[in-house]
Symmetry: D2
Subunit: 356 residues, 4 copies
């Protein structure tokens, strides 16, 4: 359904990078839920640009509620919220419809929409829409929290600098909070300087770097998921790929599982204080498309920001000739950094839709 | 929608491993399309058990058409097809509801369905349902083929034995045919002996191994996909994860992209005989959730078969105590091997649904 | 989604009048529900041809279960069931693709599907598919029954012969049972002879008659429905119109409400033994798209069978000329008669999907 | 999906009567379509309150575009539009949660949403949301118009005063324009005084009246519709019932067909200047769930406005006792009057979704 997702917690996104707003309609929440707007604003501020490692675009990303709340409580009507686009420099993008930026959506969008594509700021392909996704995610996280489910993520790696992973068996909400309290969203603060350096070096070289985000959810009931087409992995992937620049998703041991033998990869069941658990968690909390009751664990790989300051080869679609392009717009040197709350938001949306 | 997928090419699966049949309903094909039933049977036979490297379960997997075809042509009504389950040994599975097999769906399915779960042969979690998926995929492949789209896959790796990848820029349908003609579905036949060996060694050790499958599609029009929630990656993942034992999916450079700089990962556009292409294909044919016109490229990581002959730790849910389990049923030592046509089928279903 | 309906109780139909089978896949039922197969067969027999007032086509309509049940209980996998087509006379239909029968789907289906349309017995437009709908409905009725909900219907009128309506305020399941026990599905057996006569007179005149069916559901919880697009009326209409020959649906006072003043149409609330009810039930149990707790009441108008023995004007699409046609196939003189269980089935499917 | 409708032309509504706005997100339109905003405003003004026969609530209903248009053209991103609620008197509604208004949604909404239901102005059950529906409908009408399809409606009856029906065989867009040009939306201006009188008499008596709207669409291609569950009647009903106060829908001869014999109801095919038509149009342009190429014809029955000035019996949910209620808010004496453009909008949304 393109801009809509969900059967019970239904999210519809709208907006473009340089439209008046980006926004979201959320339908399906029971009436009477109190929403903590401060927590939503805090969540959005984690995604908002700011700091030395992000784009120079400056926007406060304060959401405005258009419907669905009465005295801060859901009333059964859809929640509509918008976030104004206040720092758009449309003139920066004039030429990209004809000379598409390598590894951006420009050319593919031209093939789909023709000259009518809104190229300004990347139109609806812009990561700016993740502000609306994060609004929905922040709402989902609150509702999940009251059901005992916590969602968290951290920068698992940037280029070749690796953070410490979540403990696959014993990760808790406290770990998520610790990550959020850090200046860089990592588990092990000791690697923060190296991670900053690799990002700053890329920026200094007019270049960019990729990264991997690890996400987790705790407190999920077992048996959640509707395989084969709507198992927990299917739906998490479907929502995660709404985040631009994502190139891969893996669960539990993931790609590494392909090099293991079964005797090493299988997770033995055991009773732990009367509760069935697994000794290891190579399955990442998902078996047969269903949650197992163990922490849900996945990793999402982000490509390096396609916008770089170095001159690149491209084509001139008008002249039907090869040409070169130098991008002068504002951009993040590492999209994975600001994607951390987006990954949490996407996971929360997918999980809440399964739980309602 | 659980057992149904698609908005235009709509596939509904049914059946369990030890039900009378597994089957599929396909709705949405235009009337008047002639289906080549021999090609469908050939496709199913690639998935069917057989040969030294697969399970001892022996089933011919010949589909029976229940509706939707008149004189071999679609008539606008849904195509329903079933494949009979003829070699089911239900008694092998009696105890697994109480002592769940590690890394199988048994325990999670018990949490979802309770004692009523059909544990025989794994019930609907069985890879047996991929026979029905492959029927739908074989139909999709024929329809895609008439629109100039070809879909192929090969065993990219088993354990640490790696095949040669598809040429990301120049892969063609001829490469897919070459793979299919091989006894093992690989690009480079020279690695076949090593691949066989690593599988046979695992089986001899009462163990199993994982593997990675690379999939590709050529001839796709550019601009296909409905991001953010139904971009080409979203929907491919959603259908691929209908295949049991899948643990990760990546597109183009995938996880490796996370370690690259943008200047290395970006794919420069260029004119090649008047056609816009990219010099490299790290984007895997998908930009912004849309096809770019370059070959679509992805990899799917499969875990080692969870059924192994070695004794494993598990729990006795009745006794609420730890126990051990030795699996005696028939199983494949490497599920990735027979998953190759399943990956093609899943990709074809997803792509045709986007194209119709 | 064409042949599929539902988000929680998901029904997918397949088959054509002269395909090997008509069938249905039902997905979404919780595991562990025991189904009474005798009750399902009884329900199907109410729709099956038989008796002086129906078609000469003779089929037992015994369903065959292909998947989803273990020892008569649901197991979480989809239930697939088929009903064999055993008395098809395909040769009767040869010419109708070129000389379409007035007020049948023939011509419209030709516009949609071209020559590939399966004209035999009307293909998938045949009321034969309601056998599959009734299977799903019979299952839904059993599940609803355990939740205290009963669904019933009767022949409200045939031509100008009118039955007594259900008591809008006090109708109960006992009334539904009384109707089912009658030879003709009417509330007031005294009108049965007149109703029979008007049908037999039409048949004797090589003609047909229309009729209206009144449906009701009792025991529904209040507040059910998801307006504006999936309120109780929206979804009931959507499923009811899967029954061929339906021309209109109204709720409560329906079309008659348009001629009333509000003071007469409004239903005053009152406490009746501590329960909120309405004194009258002009609203038919649905207010604002939600159930009100009062009996749900609706009427469905069926046109006269389009197949009549009288010679009719039509066109010869080959010759592009006007021509005449005399239909010799077997047909019911009053489709409304056998549509009574279909209306119950459709209502049950819609209601259960809302309740699960 | 509750507040969302459509698979190709996807409409998501939001807002409540006394929220800051009512609004709509429209997803699925191809890029590059120029929208005539004046025509949209004109369409909305037909629904907006005004004149002696409507509510005293005064709102200009000027839509504000939040996204999806660049220089008045669609760009492939969803169109989001809002209409501000500027004349809300929330204090008028304070008590209706406890003493529900007869035949309003108040009580059913309380059962669904509890005390959190936004009772102000009826919340999301208010006909105010049809302003957003009409925005989407006005867009759909423009897109349909460029494909040769016209949609129109008129007040077929109010109480017992009947307009002249559309000519079922020969109705054209010119007829729709003539209706729109009239002060009252009727075909035969001679009946306008009687219709006004019956409305004004009801208002003077602190009462209300119901009415029937006839809708039609011309220029539709034949073969449109996806029966059995998404035939043209199914989907039209589903969208029409998003309009409050609707109690029934019929197609072609509708309920009257139930009293006819087949020989009278059947519409003979004939060639008319080389085009296949039917001599009569009792089928209302829909056969077997598919458009036939003849004008699509349906009637929608609206109940009298439930808000009346007369004192009514109701319950006090707090005191659990019977009580009385006198409504003092502003309201229309005949909702059918302003529902005429809503019926056009709903039909256009349903038809465009089928055609894209």
């Amino acid at each position: 359904m393109s801009f809509s997702y969900g059967e019970r917690f239904r999210v519809t996104l709208f907006g473009q990078s340089h439209a008046p707003v980006v926004g979201v309609v959320i339908d399906g929440l029971p009436a009477g839920i109190e929403l903590d707007m401060d927590a939503i604003r805090d969540f959005l501020s984690r995604r908002a640009p700011g700091g030395a490692l992000t784009t120079a675009r400056r926007e406060a990303d304060v959401p405005e509620i258009l419907s669905g709340l009465v005295d801060g409580h859901t009333c059964g009507a859809p929640i509509a919220a918008v976030i104004r686009n206040t720092d758009a420099h449309s003139e920066d993008y004039a030429g990209y419809l004809d000379t598409p930026r390598p590894s951006h959506a420009d050319y593919a969008a031209f093939l789909k929409h023709g000259e009518a594509h809104d190229i300004r700021g990347g139109g609806y392909f812009s990561a700016r829409l993740t502000a609306a996704l994060c609004f929905a995610g922040a709402v989902a996280i609150q509702v999940l929290s009251r059901r005992g489910v916590a969602v968290g993520a951290h920068l698992y790696s940037v280029a070749d600098v690796k953070d410490e992973p979540f403990d696959p068996v014993n990760v808790t909400e406290a770990d998520f909070k610790r990550v959020r309290a850090n200046a860089l969203p990592v588990c092990n603060n000791d690697i923060a300087p190296a991670m900053r350096r690799v990002i700053e070096e890329a920026r200094a070289a007019k270049d960019s770097v990729g990264g991997v985000i690890e996400g987790a959810a705790t407190g999920l009931p077992g048996g959640l998921g509707e395989p084969p087409f709507d198992g927990v992995e299917n739906v998490l992937c479907r929502v995660l790929f709404a985040i631009p620049a994502l190139r891969g998703v893996e669960f539990g041991a993931g790609f590494a599982a392909s090099a293991m033998r079964g005797s090493r990869h299988n997770d033995p069941f055991l009773y732990d204080n009367g509760v069935v658990k697994t000794r290891t968690n190579n399955h990442g909390g998902a078996l047969g498309g269903l949650t197992s009751g163990m922490p849900l664990l996945f990793r999402a790989a982000f490509k390096p920001t396609p916008s770089i300051g170095l001159t690149q080869d491209t084509v001139d679609l008008n002249a039907k000739a090869n040409t070169q392009l130098t991008i002068h717009g504002r951009h993040d040197p590492c999209v994975a950094l600001r994607a951390v709350p987006c990954v949490e938001a996407a996971a929360a949306i997918a999980l809440l839709d399964m739980m309602l």
